[in-house]
Amino acid sequence: MIDTIYFEEKVAEHPRTISFFKRFPQADRIPCSHYKEIFNPSGQNFRLQKKKPALILAKNTGKLIHSVPATYGIGGDNNYYFSHMLNCLYDCRYCFLQGMYPSAHYLLFINYEDFFEEIKKVSAEKTNQPSWFFSGYDCDSLALENLTGFANSALSFFKNQNQTYLELRTKSVATQILEKTEPLTNVVTAFSFTPQEISDIIEKDVPTVSARIRSMKKLAERGWKLGIRLDPIIDCHNFKNRYQSLISEIFSNIQEDSIHSVSLGPFRLPDPFFKRMEKLYPDEPLFASNLEKRGRSVSYPKDIENQRIQTCNELLLEYIPNQKLFHCHPTEE
């Protein structure tokens, strides 16, 4: 699975680095001074690298916790995101990572404890107010858990936190760590979906909708709170039927009381990212869809976007109360 491991010389002796070396004894080990020497240079091709990504082990010494735009929350007032990893196991054609990063290598920051310390610090600044920390913006939170053990470490940390909430966002079925851990009331595992027919076309390597629902069901039975993320909403033929069937399949398996929140997000990409992605995949039908530039983003025309969101909204309200439904609006609107 991993043929090449780059590692910063300063983390060469870190127990996690050593454990990766043991786990992949055949992998080519290549030292570097700083991960940016490999990850950042321009003139790399994301599409070619995605065929055989390497693993980069590094220490993040920069800003670890970032604010989330005000329009992206799921009920809390203080929202932050963090990325212990950049890039993802899956290959979703709409994913902004392809337009944002020059490299498709998996960049793992192994100083997990520094993230947790920072979360504690940021949380403490908001005395007696809940703070939400979102994981999975720049990677899938669980897909590589088997490799990284990050969620395992995060659960141990969040277990002892009050007023500090974690969202693990995923398309994975690698939920074993949650299944064998006592549920925590301050952790929500949020699964992203598009209808299966769309997933087949534009979400390469992602587990089937049914497999993800089975994982959700196991977590619900164990007592974990779940999130559902229909984000991005992808316009398609037979839109209403496909989303209806998706939503119906989810709620025929998952009880409403296991659902913490459902959020809807329109397809949107910053224009420079879209241009890069279009260049990487000139044959991609998604990029030739009915999209337009609005402000600094590329999205569906406003009327289409509103109709599709409205449709999903109505379909979801058949199963959940309005207070569990959230909308992610692009920040410029």
């Binding site: 043929d3 090449t4 780059y6 080519d28 290549i30 030292p31 570097c32 001074s33 020497e37 490999i38 240079p41 003139g43 790399q44 091709n45 599409r47 070619l48 690298q49 065929k51 055989k52 390497a54 769309i198 076309i201 534009i202 992808i234 316009d235 398609c236 033929h237 000139p282 044959d283 991609e284 039908p285 998604l286 990029f287 030739a288 869809s289 009915n290």
Partner: protein
Amino acid sequence: MNFIVALQAEAMPLIDRFNLVKRSDTRVFPIFENKDHRVIISGIGRINAAAATGYLYRFEEYSQGIVNIGIAGHGELSTGTSFLANRVLHSEEKTVYYPPPILEHPITTSALQTCDTPEKLYPHPIGYDMEAHAICSIAYRLITRELVQIIKIVSDNPSNPLESFSKKTATNLIASQLTLIEEIVEQMDDLSNKLSPDPIILELIQQIRSKFHFSSTQSHQLEKLVKQANALGLEITKISSIADSADNAKNCINSLRQNLEPIRRLS
């Protein structure tokens, strides 16, 4: 594929294997070529290697990948062993290059240090050559990094230190690795083709452009629309017939746009 080699002796096996013929119009660096491949002989050292790399890309048709092939010293590997450079350094340069590991081949990999004089002490268990760092420094500005790879064959090491250069040995070492070189070149050509625009679509765009007078903006619009039509599954014959039924550039663009409108949704 573009091969950059330092010496004629290293180039000979490639010239023979691919039946390359010398270009008569290149006086700065000798280039041997056929339809698919070419070899440029740079001469020894960083300046020559950098200049030859840049020189290659004066020719528009040479837009594919680069493989630097040559003999090298190594602090650890046995003579005759080939290796793919995974890290390319120079003692006086801050920049280290990391050729992206995209090839599926069980070839040995190694760091490679480019030196300005032949390395005779082999202080580290890495390779030593005199060109690769300079080639990366130029090639990375010209083409995507995945399509620049460095293959070296060990000619000397601490047990068999470099005493004198033998042209025959250099030729034999490269010749012994031709099968491997061909396999790597095939893989790189596949990758390069994936990045190249579909020649049928390019030809179609050219054909349509030749029918009417397109302004520069219209020409870009046409190119985008034809590529989108292809992505959306519109057949070439249909695109062609839409263009044929137009009577000017503006009309052609509008007509293509109208025909795409109903199919601009994922099915």
